[in-house]
């Protein structure tokens, strides 16, 4: 029960920090889940993140998966609801009046100011994840090669993820 309350508190806070979606809160999520609450190891967290990438749906799915891992079905429900509710209420309130301020100076200034912060946050998310997933040189090589494919080709992301998983299963990685 205390786990559920702690999960709710952690994810309700993360909700209002998730500028650009779950990607921005991965480092803080990892810090809370691994370092602060010791619910799992960094490797387990990276594995859950990978699982969530392999599933359809919003990139918030890692949240449900962490909840499920920590406290089962109710954990998944609590984390998903906790991460969705505060930001949804904010969106509900703001979306009604937003268009009125389309040309307002403060809106443009805020939009411009948030952009580089969001970029830096997501770079940090990627760096922290790579630090965890590069367990040996073969895994690091997978990251380098697939990053090139994700950025410079039009291949479906799922095809790239699947190819990596197959390469691992047949023994080329790990």
């Amino acid at each position: 029960m205390s786990n559920l309350a702690e999960l709710a508190a952690v994810y309700a806070q993360l909700s209002l920090l998730a500028f650009g979606g779950a990607n921005a809160i991965i480092p803080e999520m990892q810090r809370q889940v691994v370092d602060v609450h010791h619910w799992m190891s960094a490797h387990e967290f990276a594995a859950l993140f990978a699982l969530a990438q392999a599933a359809p749906g919003p990139n918030m799915m890692v949240v449900s998966l962490v909840g499920w891992r920590v406290a089962g079905f109710w954990g998944a429900l609590v984390t998903t609801a906790a991460v969705a509710t505060p930001s949804s209420i904010l969106t509900l309130l703001v979306s009604g009046v937003w268009y009125r301020f389309k040309d307002a100076t403060w809106r443009k200034a805020l939009q411009a100011g948030l952009q580089p912060v969001t970029a830096g946050l997501i770079m940090a998310s990627a760096a922290l994840l790579i630090q965890t997933t590069a367990v040996d040189w073969t895994a690091a090589a997978v990251t380098v090669v697939t990053a090139g494919l994700f950025i410079f080709t039009k291949l479906h992301p799922l095809a790239i993820l699947a190819a990596a998983a197959v390469a691992g299963a047949v023994g080329l990685v790990g």
Partner: protein, 181 residues
């Protein structure tokens, strides 16, 4: 196409976003755009782009926020809730099913190795997203400096996000506004 399509019912909203959730491999945004603009014609392309712009600016998942903004525009709070539940139901069930499968077979060597490789590729996917999000900063030294400070604060110094984010956002807004190009 005509501007006056009948407003979707609460059930339409749930059903439309449910299909987006089921199909949304590799990210729901393209699937949501296809359903809302091309298939069900709830919004025109410019209307959708404008709504997405707002939703990216607010915290929370971008398309989760779109479900709220779009659902509430047509059917108030009930529409917002129905849209969000529609989007989330199938993916949550699928991801938990994957988790159960992973738990059962994690000790089996090929499965373990597959997940080592999958984790490495998923991290690369994040890197590619960072690359795309950072690309508008090219040629803007001040914006790049702000992004670098953010990176160091979070990835190197490991500062808590809820303390660092407001400070960074306010400093960045004031700085970029003061020296705007």
């Amino acid at each position: 196409m005509s501007e006056t399509h009948p407003a979707p019912t609460v059930f339409d909203l749930f059903a439309g976003f449910f299909t987006v959730g089921v199909l949304g491999f590799g990210g729901v945004l393209p699937w949501a755009r296809r359903m809302i603009v091309d298939q069900r014609k709830w919004l025109t392309q410019p209307e959708f782009t404008e709504m997405l712009g707002l939703c990216q600016f607010l915290p929370g998942g971008n398309i989760m926020n779109v479900t709220i903004a779009l659902g509430s525009r047509f059917r108030g709070v009930a529409g917002a809730v129905a849209s969000l539940l529609g989007l989330m139901t199938a993916p949550v069930a699928i991801v938990i099913a994957l988790g159960i499968v992973y738990d059962r077979y994690a000790d089996y060597a090929p499965v373990h190795r597959a997940f080592v490789a999958l984790s490495a590729a998923a991290a690369a996917y994040m890197l590619s997203a960072a690359w795309k999000i950072a690309s508008p900063l090219r040629g803007r030294p001040l914006a790049i400096a702000v992004a670098a400070c953010t990176f160091v604060a979070i990835a190197v110094l490991r500062l808590p996000l809820q303390a660092a984010m407001p400070v960074l956002a306010i400093c960045s807004t004031l700085l970029l506004w003061r020296f705007r190009a």
